[in-house]
Symmetry: C2
DNA sequence: GTCTATAATCTGATAGAC
DNA sequence: GTCTATCAGATTATAGAC
């Protein structure tokens, strides 16, 4: 059994992975058009030129597709977090570092509200991301903790206040001015407010 | 036509309204159990001892039920806003007023996350609240504007920063620590941060 | 106002031929 | 790996008897 050469097996695996990626990409498109919860396997298959039943050759269930989407989003989030912190790896200016991170985060979220919804609001009843899919998101939050500690902000409450501030700007922007910049414009000001607060008395 | 007495007509209307209210109450229960988007007319009717089709004697469509829920939530929100501002109607202490309002708002939202979701996040594809249902929410936001202006905060950006701060605390609490108080504990601190910021230099 | 009956359609998922 | 055929349901909504 399995007496095939490495060449053959790689080509098959590559095609399989490519098709999986194609399905996930089509799922994002559908989610953006009809809402995250309203993806049907029939519509999804139609977009990639298949019948619904053929999807099961690539994913065990509908939730497995959501899990792949979550994993992709979480990896993108980690990558952007890394970029943002590395770009300012030499900076000791707290405001500069946090403003960069805040602008990166809010743009990441408002660029793709559906991805934001899936990653940070979990609106699909019964779906919980797997530990593997979740791991990069945890790592990204850890990067934030590390960087804040480097600036002397090791109080967990301070980190929570920071995440709340970013979540609020993002949420208001997406919910009440989609496509606009009414709350995005306030990012600098909000970061200044936060920095003033945490450096108060020093 | 309509030769009935006022008594008879009132009793009928009262019963009709009471049943409508019963249906809406059951819809809230279902939404809390299964998620806002997963209310089916069959389940809903079952809760009030009816068949699904009988619901149509009280509501023209499923969206009309969501609209009634939205209206109820918006009225409750306006009522709480009024209470909060009236309780401090004589106070000139900005921190005191805003802390009261912030605690009231975050508790209102975290007490009933599904109501928060319906009122402030609009997660049901294809549903938009009617103007009548929406009106109390607009009025509540207007109360906030008036009160802030009274304290010299007439910059719209300041009001937006305030709503973002509250939305962020609420959203993080509901999404990442449901039933707990990890972000609710930060309300006072967040309000102090905000007040320090807007009174800076005065 | 509530019911039965039913329309018309969608859903995720499985079995088995090729 | 893709298909046909099908299951076993769900869904909102309407027509018409009582």
């Amino acid at each position: 059994m399995s007496g095939t050469t490495n060449d053959v097996r790689d080509r098959r695996a590559e095609r399989h992975d490519a098709t999986r990626a194609e399905i996930v990409a089509a799922a994002w498109e559908l989610a953006r058009d009809h809402g995250l919860g309203d993806i049907s396997l029939r519509d999804l298959a139609g977009r990639v030129g298949m019948k619904a039943q053929s999807i099961y050759s690539y994913f065990d269930s509908k939730d497995a597709i959501y899990d792949a989407m979550f994993a992709e989003g979480a990896r993108a989030f980690l990558e952007r977090s890394r970029d943002a912190f590395e770009r300012r790896s030499d900076s000791d200016d707290l405001f500069e570092v946090l403003r960069d991170r805040a602008e990166g985060f809010t743009r990441f979220c408002t660029d793709d509200p559906v991805r934001y919804q899936l990653l940070f609001q979990r609106p699909i009843p019964g779906f919980e991301p797997s530990a593997e899919a979740y791991a990069p998101a945890v790592e990204a939050l850890d990067l934030l903790h590390q960087r804040m500690t480097r600036h002397g902000l090791d109080d967990p409450a301070v980190v929570d206040l920071w995440t709340a501030l970013l979540a609020g700007l993002t949420d208001q922007q997406i919910s009440n001015d989609p496509g606009g910049d009414r709350w995005l414009r306030l990012v600098d000001r909000a970061v200044q407010m936060f920095v003033d607060h945490v450096t108060k008395g020093s």
